[in-house]
């Protein structure tokens, strides 16, 4: 289990960086292309599949009736979790949720929650008695790099196409879940000393820290997270922040297309 340092890989990535090149020929701010499919899981009330290079993730939305918290009698709840199970890759092991999977789920959760795209009041059925709990479960099936952005996209796409199963629960007619925005995550990894967008598995293996930025419809920040060993300068952040703005606008359009509007 001793991990050898991928010294040679790091050297090669540093060499490429000097030439402003990437190992798969992409430009520094290019993605591998997001392939988004929605409504693909029979028993989920909303679902999405994202393929991004060799990365494959699913997200499914389920609803449950709950009693609201006493201090928020008119608010429903939202919960987003990610599973990084052994199916996702050779390096993943069975066992209780790893710090990696907890971080993944919580970063996606914060981006969606903090954007305010779900009005918790709209999930109330009977104040103080009955509200909807909305649960987004993300399932990483194949990790070949940048699962954060794939999961973030799958989660919001599943949510935006979800139908509230009111009839099955005997509380009215089925209706579309109202989602007021489309928060999008953009992730940057330091590879060969400088940041790139949408790193592959190899770039992650030979790279350093990651920065995850979730932006709302107005370009405001809703979630930030730095992961892994490494430190960055404010100037570096400014640079990737501008790229994030562009990429998020594009992906927001992709989600809108799948909703058919």
């Amino acid at each position: 289990m001793v991990q050898l340092v991928p010294t040679l890989l790091r050297q090669e990535l540093a060499r490429l960086a000097e030439e402003d090149a990437r190992i798969d020929g992409r430009g520094r701010w290019d993605s591998r292309g997001f392939n988004l499919e929605t409504d693909c899981l029979y028993n989920a009330e909303g679902s999405a599949k994202v393929v991004l290079g060799g990365t494959v993730v699913y997200a499914g939305v389920k609803f449950e009736l709950r009693t609201p918290w006493p201090d928020r009698p008119t608010q429903g709840s939202l919960m987003c979790g990610a599973e990084l199970r052994p199916v996702a890759g050779r390096k993943y092991e069975p066992g209780p949720p790893s710090p990696q999977s907890i971080e993944l789920g919580r970063v996606v959760d914060r981006g969606i929650r903090e954007s305010g795209c779900i009005d918790m009041e709209s999930l109330c059925i009977v104040p103080g008695e009955k509200v909807w709990g909305v649960m987004i479960d993300i399932h990483v099936m194949s990790d070949q790099g940048n699962i954060f952005d794939a999961c973030g996209l799958a989660a919001i796409a599943a949510l935006r196409t979800a139908v509230v199963p009111a009839e099955r629960f005997d509380v009215g007619e089925d209706h579309v879940l109202g989602v007021k925005g489309t928060p999008i995550m953009a992730s940057f990894t330091r590879v060969g000393g400088r940041f790139v967008y949408d790193a592959t598995e190899q770039e992650e293996l030979g790279g350093d820290e990651r920065i995850h930025i979730t932006l709302g419809d107005e370009g405001h920040l809703h979630s930030l997270q730095k992961g892994l060993k490494g430190a960055f300068t404010p100037a570096e952040f400014t640079e990737i922040f501008d790229v994030a703005q562009e990429r998020c606008v594009e992906l927001r359009k992709l989600v809108a297309e799948k909703e058919g509007n």
Binding site: Y42, N43, G60, E83, D137, S142
Partner: protein, 243 residues
């Protein structure tokens, strides 16, 4: 005289089933191999509304060492239902049902994989159920067999997961969700299509010896059909064709 919850009708007056199938007719099956780039082998099986995905990793070093076998590979199977795979959400993590299915599925796969070729090693088989509408353990076994073949793991035969059961005192092939909920028996098996042996066997409910024999006959018939679809999926995969 019915099992389950009583007065639920599962057969039409003409003897056909609620979804129009004949008693010995299975739900449509489609299979695709090589769908998960990160895995050494993979497959997706769609059977009716079920979606089962299997990924294979290995052979790799078995660790911790206490799970190693000196004379063969161990096969480590995890059968898992995704939280969104069922009508009511399932809490993530294993439960007693999934642990039992994982165990007997691993033992069934060990019966066909040439485990002697890889002493002290481990082959990981991950079965993920993305949509569940009765019959997922069988779809999972079929997916696992195709994924093992896709990973290039040598096997003495494929293994096909199929089930028959009993509804309204009638033996039928491949129960769907309603038939499973309100039926009288279920007989899921794993059949080796070339040798005709059985490597997976479970059953619950109530079957007379004659009903058992008929249910098993249906299972063998269906295994033959699914086997062809499995072989076809593998051929498409190796010819570089995509579904």
């Amino acid at each position: 005289m019915m099992g389950g919850y009583g007065d639920v009708q599962l057969l039409n007056e003409d003897g056909s089933r609620l979804d129009g199938r004949k008693v010995d007719e299975m739900r449509p099956v489609s299979i695709e191999a090589g769908i998960l780039p990160a895995a050494d082998g993979s497959a997706m099986v769609t059977q009716g509304l079920n979606v089962a995905v299997a990924a294979v990793y290995g052979p790799m070093e078995a660790h911790p060492r206490k799970i190693q076998r000196q004379d063969r590979a161990v096969i480590d199977v995890r059968y898992n239902m995704a939280p969104f795979s069922t009508s009511d959400r399932i809490r993530p993590g294993f439960n007693r049902r999934s642990r039992e299915i994982s165990k007997v599925t691993a033992e069934a796969l060990e019966s066909v994989v040439l485990v002697e070729r890889y002493p002290r090693s481990k082959i990981r088989v991950e079965i993920e159920i993305l949509a569940a509408e009765a019959g997922t353990r069988c779809a999972g076994i079929t997916a696992a067999a195709v994924a093992l073949a896709d990973a290039g793991i040598p096997m003495r035969d494929l293994i096909v997961g199929v089930a028959s059961g009993k509804i309204e005192d009638t033996v039928v092939l491949d129960l769907d969700k309603a038939e499973d909920n309100y039926g009288q028996a279920d007989l899921p098996v794993g059949i080796l299509p070339n040798t005709g042996e059985i490597a997976f066997l479970q059953m619950d409910g109530d079957l007379s010896p004659d009903e058992y024999n008929l249910a098993m006959e249906y299972n063998f018939k269906a295994a033959k059909e699914i086997h062809e679809i499995m072989v076809d999926a593998l051929q498409r995969r190796y010819q570089g064709g995509e579904a």
